[in-house]
């Protein structure tokens, strides 16, 4: 089922992300490359949204702009009611700390920290005490079947285990918006499926949402909507879960 953004906007009232006319270019002068060319984009509460498209279509750039990691050149990005481009650098950092969770393609775990310490990093950053942070991280890791690997260092974990630690790190502070960049790219089919199922479970929470940038067609079935990007613009939007606009 394909639908345009405007019709969805009317149907869905509770947006966590709303972007309008977002533009972003890299480079200067004649080497300037426009990457986002006026993107309109929304994510609703309780939604798992897949952002797909060919390499260079602007998916990751859009994700970075939503997270306040990259500054957009134009347009308006509202996340959880905050206009991102109006926040100072420190306020953006604090906003990410308090409200967003990240899962990266390459995990980016700290190699000298154990699995449980890695998962607890966002809580350490928030200033939560060490015992409470590791306790909460331990609980999240156990729900992911990592109870036996809590004290293991990342280099001794398999790719799937490392990604589960990365997901635990993203979830431990209970963020409202989870941003995932190719979370299954380095995983085999079965592990990828299991991990996306866990992400979807988070996205089903009524106050939360998950955005997954992916090339992996094996996980398309898990999204509530699939947003196609092409050449810096939103192409079509495929509605998978019917109850989103019911």
């Amino acid at each position: 089922m394909t639908q345009n953004v405007e019709s969805l906007e009317e149907e869905l009232s509770d947006w966590l992300v709303r972007a309008r006319g977002v533009t972003k270019s890299f480079g200067e002068g004649h080497t300037k490359i426009p990457v986002l060319k006026g993107v309109d984009f929304d994510v609703a509460s309780g939604e798992v949204l897949l952002l797909v498209g060919p390499s260079g279509s602007g998916k990751t750039t859009l994700l970075s702009v939503i997270a306040g990691i990259l500054e957009s050149d134009g347009g308006d990005v509202r996340v959880l009611g905050e206009t991102i481009q109006e926040l100072s650098a420190l306020a953006k950092t604090n906003f990410r700390r308090d409200h967003l969770g990240f899962i990266f393609q390459q995990y980016n775990l700290l190699p000298t920290l154990t699995a449980v310490e890695n998962a607890a990093v966002p809580l350490f950053i928030q200033g939560v005490s060490r015992s409470e942070a590791t306790g909460r991280a331990e609980e999240v890791l156990k729900t992911m079947g990592m109870g036996e690997r809590l004290m293991t260092l990342p280099p001794k974990l398999s790719g799937g285990e490392q990604q589960r630690v990365a997901i635990a790190r993203a979830l431990v502070a209970e963020p409202q918006l989870l941003l995932c960049d190719e979370p299954t790219a380095s995983l085999d089919g079965e592990t990828g499926h299991r991990i996306v199922e866990q992400l979807c479970a988070v996205g089903k929470h009524p106050d939360r949402a998950v955005i997954i940038v992916t090339h992996d067609s094996r996980i398309f079935e898990f999204g509530d909507r699939i947003v196609h990007m092409e050449d810096g613009r939103i192409g079509n939007i495929q509605q998978v879960r019917k109850d989103l606009n019911s």
Partner: protein, 291 residues
């Protein structure tokens, strides 16, 4: 109370015919002011007897040759035969010469003819007067330089730093050590930062501020620095004590030295971390999204 003091470098002839340089100290025979605090063997008052000297532990080791130096042992200083009346404990001097004490008058007789032989006049204040006040009053009344023990000590240090090669040589070594230490530490930290740029980027994306990352780098730097400080001071102390035990080198480790080294080390850590912190401050967290 006061008295004259002679101090000069002389030559002692050993039983085996060899010569050894000594620091000859002549003290006032009536007051014995300037005498060493600790007498290990014999009596310092016996310096009033003819041809007597008091020697320190270093002299016992160096002047004896094949003969064990003890009370009553005789040896020559500038062709004057002297007899050991006491063995005393002294602090090793910077020049590391054995100390030989005798009376001021005998020291004048032993040493070659010179126009002026009075090195210093030692004075102690009467009860109720501080050494500082006494030094000021002596200076005011005589126009001569007058110093307390501490002032004289620092004057000596300044003189040595200014008039010998020690200041330049040691200063150069210290500056080189500082620069090399900073370069190596800075490069190590920078490489560490570069190698872990993605992890730092991830931390920034997750919500760690630049200030927090800077504190992390500084903590790592100071931790490594403090471990290095402990190991370095430990090894230097061990070396110093080992060398001092053989009587070859004087070794003194004062608390200002330890504090000074600590401060220098903290400076090295801070400055070497600064390059990494600058890199992290400029780091775009978007680096983590680049596959």
């Amino acid at each position: 109370m006061g008295g004259p003091l002679y101090k000069g470098i002389q030559r002692a002839r050993l039983r085996d015919g060899n010569y050894e340089q000594i620091a000859l100290v002549g003290i006032d025979s009536s007051t014995l002011i300037g005498r060493p605090h600790t007498v290990i063997e014999g009596r310092i008052e016996d310096l009033r007897a003819p041809d007597t000297v008091a020697i320190d532990q270093l002299a016992v080791e160096r002047l004896g040759g094949s003969v064990q130096m003890r009370i009553g042992t005789r040896f020559e200083v500038n062709d004057h035969l002297v007899r050991v009346a006491a063995i005393v404990k002294t602090q090793k001097s910077f020049q590391n010469f054995p100390f030989v004490y005798t009376t001021y008058e005998r020291a004048l007789g032993i040493t070659p003819q010179e126009r002026r032989k009075l090195s210093y006049v030692l004075a102690s204040p009467v009860n109720g007067m501080s050494p500082e006040d006494l030094a000021v009053r002596i200076h005011q009344q005589t126009g001569l330089g007058a110093y307390t023990g501490d002032q004289f000590g620092w004057k000596t240090v300044r003189w040595i730093l200014k008039n010998t090669g020690i200041g330049v040589n040691f200063g150069t070594t210290v500056v080189l050590g500082f620069v090399v230490g900073m370069a190596i530490a800075g490069q190590t930290f920078y490489l560490f930062t570069i190698e872990n740029l993605r992890q730092f980027g991830a931390l920034k994306a997750i919500g760690a501020s630049t200030g927090m990352l800077a504190r992390m780098i500084l903590l790592q730097s100071f931790t490594v620095g403090l471990i290095g400080y402990g190991v370095g001071i430990g090894l230097a102390t061990l070396f110093g004590l080992t060398a001092a035990r053989g009587g070859r080198l004087p070794f003194v480790e004062t608390w200002p030295l330890l504090v000074g080294v600590g401060i220098a080390l903290l400076m090295i850590c801070s400055l070497s971390s600064a390059i990494s912190i600058r890199k992290l401050a400029k780091l775009e967290p978007a680096v983590v999204f680049r596959g």
